[in-house]
């Protein structure tokens, strides 16, 4: 109301006249024909890469992993049941060391302007996709000069001894030790299947770097174009093995500003939007043309202390910081109560979540005492925050400001450093930070996928362990758990691991956020992934 009043005073009548003239000349009826067949998704950021082998962010998996590619196996959406995908069936040897997959026939790769496949998917493609990540001698291993964060941090290089092609439609994986979550690992995006033929052709033309810029997969959508900071365009794969998608075009409109994203959704320029800000949820809920999808998130938002840098190498300092922060206030004002306080790195919906972990109560007095014990009189710390909204943290800058306020109570001076997302991730993984606000969304419901990439010593080497915390006890629990198939015994080990984590306090665990997406109500059969993304496969429009 106030807004309209101001604008009336400043609206230039001449411009209004012109506007009316021009608008009447070209009225703004939606472009019917293509609007009926295409879906626009307003994503919250640029994917850092479309190749899921390199990717770590959910945006990249939305745009690359699930859209362009398939895996050997897949998870039934919303459950932890493994279903066949490019592999029709599989057998596991009794010692749990050999996995043999029978591959689906007549699965076609994408045909595009830049590549026309001459053959269907076969065992060579499986070998190529895994060996590129696994073998340093592989001609594609160092192409694009990026690391393989998932493959490395999950220790697959040591786990997989060999991959054998038995015949064109059968492959066998040899493992070094039994690994109970192995099938669910193969369902993760980094295990996507690429075209070996395409790779070979680019190798012959000496243009290997194009492989990751212009991807070819078997997935439901075909890559058309990526305009940096603007949009990514796909069209439906006409020979998709599950049958072509109902939506003919899919466009990712890259819109980092949450208010603009919401504006685009209400104006009908987007059909689906990622991560509405908590403050907008009420508006979306009331709006009859919009649907709100929500899901208890498989995520954790945390504040990581770089344990390699003093004073954070001192456990008392880390505990003091844990006591110093009022997390309830953060949940209330940053998440607007659309999250719950996290005590464990594992969200409650994961089966081995420890419900009785001791909590660091909010108490500045204890915090001061611990700091004094650590011999710290004056402390000035940096908090790194990032400038976009993530499923586990709608506004990390705001969170940093609240933390700063709490730290002032115990006389710690705080500098908030705000960085752009990709440079933030890059610099944090190199360990340049003192402390940083971070988060994680799991790719499946196995506890291992939370703890291994975030907290093990291996992960500290690759940088996905942002606290660079390395505990022999913790790693020991995880390693033994992987060798066991009995869920109860595994759960016990994970409980112990969580206890170790909690007492060492390399993070302040902050919140498990509820995940939202909003869509216009003509979008049907939209499903959220556990990691806060969207399944575009199977979506249709109804007007």
């Amino acid at each position: 109301m106030n807004l309209k009043a101001c604008s009336k005073h400043t609206l230039n009548p001449l411009m209004l006249l012109l506007l009316v003239l021009l608008v009447s000349a070209c009225d703004n009826t939606p472009e019917q024909s293509i609007m009926r067949q295409g879906l626009v998704f307003c994503s919250e950021g640029n994917p850092d890469t479309l190749n899921p082998q390199f990717a770590t962010s959910g945006i990249a998996f939305d745009a690359g992993g699930r859209t362009l590619f398939n895996r050997l196996v897949q998870l039934e959406p919303g459950t932890s049941t493994i279903k066949p995908s490019l592999a029709e069936s599989w057998t596991i040897s009794e010692d749990g060391l050999r996995y043999q997959f029978t591959l689906r026939r007549d699965v076609q790769f994408h045909t595009t302007k830049y590549f026309q496949p001459s053959r269907a998917f076969n065992a060579n493609d499986v070998l190529f996709s895994f060996n590129r990540q696994r073998l340093q001698a592989h001609p594609y291993h160092f192409v694009s000069r990026r690391s393989y964060p998932y493959f490395d941090s999950m220790g697959l290089r040591e786990l997989i001894i060999d991959i054998k092609k038995i015949h064109n439609y059968s492959v066998e994986f040899h493992l070094a030790r039994p690994e109970s979550p192995f099938l669910s690992i193969l369902a993760m995006e980094f295990a996507s299947i690429f075209s070996a033929e395409y790779a070979q052709r680019l190798l012959e033309e000496d243009q290997q770097e194009l492989f990751d810029l212009f991807p070819i997969g078997t997935g439901p959508f075909v890559f058309v174009r990526h305009v940096q900071d603007s949009h990514i365009r796909f069209h439906a794969h006409p020979q998709y093995y599950k049958g072509p998608e109902k939506i003919k075009y899919l466009v990712f409109a890259i819109t980092p500003e949450p208010s603009l994203r919401y504006a685009r959704l209400t104006a009908g320029e987007c059909d689906v939007m990622a991560n509405p800000l908590p403050a907008y949820l009420n508006l979306i809920h009331k709006n009859k043309t919009l649907d709100l999808y929500q899901m208890t998130g498989l995520n954790i938002g945390y504040w990581a202390f770089n344990t390699t840098k003093p004073p954070f190498d001192d456990i008392r300092v880390r505990r003091a910081l844990n006591h110093a922060i009022n997390r309830q206030a953060i949940i209330h004002s940053v998440y607007l109560d659309s999250a719950e306080i996290a005590e464990s790195p594992l969200p409650p919906s994961i089966w081995s979540h420890h419900t009785e972990l001791p909590s660091y109560t909010y108490d500045p007095v204890i915090a001061r005492k611990l700091l004094k014990e650590a011999g710290i009189e004056q402390l000035e710390i940096d908090i790194w925050a990032f400038n976009i909204q993530r499923p586990y943290n709608p506004d990390s800058v705001k969170m940093a400001e609240l933390i700063k306020r709490d730290l002032e109570q115990i006389d710690i001076k705080t500098n908030i450093v705000t960085l752009e997302w990709s440079s933030f991730i890059h610099r944090v993984s190199q360990g340049q930070h003192q402390t940083a606000l971070l988060g994680w969304t799991a790719d499946n419901e196995d506890p291992d996928h939370f703890l291994t990439p975030l907290l093990t010593c291996d992960a500290a080497m690759t940088g996905s362990n942002r606290a660079f915390w390395c505990s022999k006890d913790f790693d020991g629990h995880l390693n033994s758990a992987r060798k066991i198939t009995d869920p109860n015994q595994r759960a016990d080990l994970y409980y112990q691991a969580q206890e170790t984590f909690k007492s060492e306090a390399p993070w302040l665990t902050i919140a498990h956020a509820t995940q939202y997406i909003a869509a216009r109500s003509h979008v049907k059969n939209l499903k959220q992934t556990p990691s806060g993304g969207v399944y575009f496969s199977g979506v249709y429009l109804e007007r």
Partner: protein
Amino acid sequence: MLNKSNIYIQEKIPGPIAEAWHNFRKNILASVALIGLLVIIFLALASPLLVPYDPNFQHENAYLVQPSWMEGGNPAFIFGTDDLGRDLFSRMLMGARLTLGSAFIATVVSLSLGLVLGILTAIGPRLISTLFLRFMDMLLATPSLLIAILLTALFGATLFHATLAVAIALTPHFGRNIHQLLEEELAKPYVEAALLDVPNIFRNVFRSIFPNLFGRLAVQMMLSFSIAVLDIAALGFLGLGASADSPDWGRLLSESLDYIQIAPWTVTLPGLAIFVTVLCINLIGQGLSQALDPEKY
């Protein structure tokens, strides 16, 4: 005693400044603008005494409270609060200091630099004159934003760099203008007469010529001040100026951008403040130039 009473019949001719002031007061719009600007400046100067709350204090459970005149507003927060529960009125008062203060500094700095350059190019040796004129022409074309971007990229984003960038961008406007005014004046007969009297051109510039340029310089200063306020605000908006802890009006506006549809006042009010201030300055400038040269209008 005798001196006090007029013995001779004498017509009192007001001085140029008094006459301009007389003309200015007749311009209602400009007078209102002058009063408005004085009020804004007073608010900015007295802001530490006037702020109802600490501008950075986060009031718990008072997030995005509407301004007091709207439904659901709270009279305790005149302009409402932002997403962290900080009082917008207090923040805007503090922002006024930063925005107007740095704009004023930028204007004064560029005026001084412009004076030096203008005088140097008008009466200095030919080589120096052409060199500096060429240099000013080059700068004249470069917008303050690009200078600020370079400074920020190289030395970091601070309000000081933003102010410096604006000052650099404004300097050639002053320099060019002063140069031209001086050239015009130097060609006039009274200067020639004065030169015969005291053959020192520098002394003449200051003693005889400058008093005649005060009015023009004042107009130019108002114009530059308005540009400076707009530019400082724009730089703040783009995150190239003030820090998050002590935001100027532009930064204040951009901080709440995420909530523009829910809490439009957090964006409209700081913008309105910039707009009204600049409008006042421009109206005063216009009134001033009309008052100095009434025939032209």
